[in-house]
Symmetry: D2
Subunit: 120 residues, 4 copies
Amino acid sequence: VLGFELFDSDGERIRGRFAVEDRVRQAYGLVHGGAYAGMAESLATVATAQAVATEGRIAMGQSNHTSFLRPVTDGHIHAEGRQRHRGRGTWVWQVDFTDDEGRLCALSLVTVAVRRRPPS
Amino acid sequence: VLGFELFDSDGERIRGRFAVEDRVRQAYGLVHGGAYAGMAESLATVATAQAVATEGRIAMGQSNHTSFLRPVTDGHIHAEGRQRHRGRGTWVWQVDFTDDEGRLCALSLVTVAVRRRPPS
Amino acid sequence: VLGFELFDSDGERIRGRFAVEDRVRQAYGLVHGGAYAGMAESLATVATAQAVATEGRIAMGQSNHTSFLRPVTDGHIHAEGRQRHRGRGTWVWQVDFTDDEGRLCALSLVTVAVRRRPPS
Amino acid sequence: VLGFELFDSDGERIRGRFAVEDRVRQAYGLVHGGAYAGMAESLATVATAQAVATEGRIAMGQSNHTSFLRPVTDGHIHAEGRQRHRGRGTWVWQVDFTDDEGRLCALSLVTVAVRRRPPS
């Protein structure tokens, strides 16, 4: 819906990006904070879900902390997720967001809960 | 884009809601964490911006911490924002999210930076 | 070590306080942010641990988000913890900190993991 | 009070450590979450304060988000702080905590407000 693109993950890293278009801009024309938080959430939960699927487990976001550092008005936002912790019950990802010039725009820490898949 | 509705604010409280439709669902059919974080961000920044506009100041999200507590698959998500701090440089909002039965689904703390409006 | 006092908890609420003395002050003479975060952590984990002990479970802090709102230089800091979520694997507490005049000084959201007690 | 040691900072990096003794242990004998949060707060505010002092400005903690990843019962906790953002009004630091074997134990994101020094 927001135009997020996610690239391949190996369970340790995941990258993604989105274009700065009106659907992710707030009233002043800047990238909406929710776009960064939403992208971080997607990267962390998708990368974890892929990694634990073969063990019959699922991944669900548990908390998301995002700091907004630099206003961006156009171009693309590039996200780089890095897995920092792989526990039995939770994984933790750090996501750095940069603009087209490589400047840091936002930072996220996302905690993902890993649970056994409920019988369907 | 995500179907958020925001209701009137007096600078102390703000309410909003969104319908649980595919545009806010993740792969398992649950409300995406980014929808809660994005809604909290919108409520806090819009309510602050409205309150400080008459002083020639603007509001921009600075950080967003959201905890996801209960999976929701349909109905509406109801958000209630409450201003907890009104400083010179930052405002802090707490947002509680409930489902149609009034059960708490998510919680946010949002810090909004307040700055002088740049000359246009 | 920091002079924290914790009062009775019923699993829903817990209160505590500490005196603003040099052991909790930073270089400018204000209450150190770590004192608020540490107090929130103690309140949330102790209240959860007491509530789950009879089920043979233990509680351990998982994450702590604290916002510092108002500098305090003397008197006492009063903490009021409120349990906001009681899940199978995690509990979430919100802690409000006030000074002797009842003004909000800091706010915490603490997530506590609940696990089966390891056989000793 | 808690035995924190802070080492030299150049405004970009700062390191510190503390010994795992009873004053930083909680009831189960593990390092208390407040010790990590407090150490992160000290590193970030001291490093920022030193860097901005020559401009007649002061630094005060604004928010602290700490995730606890691995229980530690003895040895030392080593902290490595890295400045991630240097804005006009706020600096953001990321702090990684490791045990004596170099395993990640906790992670913090700290936002520090930078203000003009009040006339004394």
